[in-house]
Symmetry: C3
Subunit: 167 residues, 3 copies
């Protein structure tokens, strides 16, 4: 008497429902692009540090002896540009990552979901290049910004409809 | 010989343990309110842009031609108020969302958990209204602030006790 | 006829694969340290408020009557130091928490993962002490900063390799 397959079938089917696991390709895609975006955000700290050293703009007295500066300084345009780009990341990448996780957990169409995650994350990589690394004229930055913005809104709308009964 | 129910029972019971899935109403509630709060945070970017256009306060040289301004400006009080509200969101909504996810994963009482998520998220919506949209006298903003603050602390305490053995 | 154990074995084995559940000690460890770091971030708001009251540096007109001040003020060095430490938390703790969640979901070696989470989180607690509470000379702050920085990078690299096929 072999009831192995009989037991295995519902379990296997049921496990496909575990959306937040790496056996779900959408979750794998989310994890890959999350890593890239997190690395990108960490690089912003290094870019800020480089600008601070280059322009000797240190915000803390205890940092001054790093370059034998004599006083703290604020508001250097090169430092502030990188800091604005970094803050823009906090305002957009972190909500995008949290929203995408809830979106993955809502079980969307795999093809659509992977496409949205790839485009949304890539647009933020481009945003950093045109904002903090090689400033280019508008609307380059605005286009990159609104691409991720629109994708995050779509994901939020999808999850709102999907979970409205749990309000 | 029908051993179907015998097999189904442990599987169904076990799947109720998958807390981070949309079959768990608490997770559904979390996903719904996460979407609302993420949308609210995105709206802050639009509010900032509106104030920048209204007061012609642009922080980047490449943005100037959007309104034929001639120089970058900083520190306009209307722009700064929206930016402070936005930063306050980063400081409070993002930790609240991460903390609530860990709280959902710790398997709390469903009624309590859904109530806390609803109140915590609603208080942040009110916070934005009384801070950035229609500034009202204190203590309106402080009350909204400390409601979510206290709920996040409670969730953290609950998870700390629940997971102390994994320290 | 007792086929209970036969059914239980694959189910139990399969459930060990649910990495984002509190039955996974790595997830329990993540949840514990997430709670501590979130509490630490909330305390930064209280530290800022204490400095604002002590130095009567209020950024909003509606807050003035709290201490019978007559005008808004900005740029007090004690307030700004706590605010810089808080912003540094946003830039590093939130990516660390999101990255660690993806890392836990990628099924790393449990001993390594728990060690990285403990060290990464503890370094951020030390960072706050040496930055905002008792300012000490460098390189104390830099060491604490780069510890978590390096761990987050390692986790990102691990997940990138693990999920490269889902790019």
């Amino acid at each position: 008497m072999d009831n192995g397959p009989m037991d295995a079938t519902p379990t296997a089917a049921a496990f496909r429902l575990i959306l937040l696991s790496k056996s779900n390709p959408v979750m794998g895609c989310y994890m890959f692009w999350t890593s890239l975006l997190v690395l990108k955000m960490l690089v912003m700290s290094l870019l800020t540090a480089r600008q601070r050293m280059k322009t000797k703009t240190y915000a803390n007295p205890e940092d001054l002896r790093l370059s034998r500066s004599t006083e703290v300084r604020f508001g250097d345009p090169n430092v502030e540009r990188v800091r604005r780009a970094h803050r823009n990341d906090l305002e957009n990448i972190l909500p995008f990552l949290l929203m995408s996780l809830a979106y993955v957990a809502s079980g969307p169409n795999p093809l659509t979901a992977r496409l949205l995650i790839r485009i949304g994350a890539s647009a933020r990589l481009i945003h950093t290049v045109v904002y903090a690394i090689i400033p280019v004229p508008q609307p380059a930055r605005a286009l990159a910004f609104f691409t991720t913005f629109a994708i995050t809104c779509f994901e939020a709308g999808y999850v709102l409809v999907c979970c409205i009964k749990y309000i």
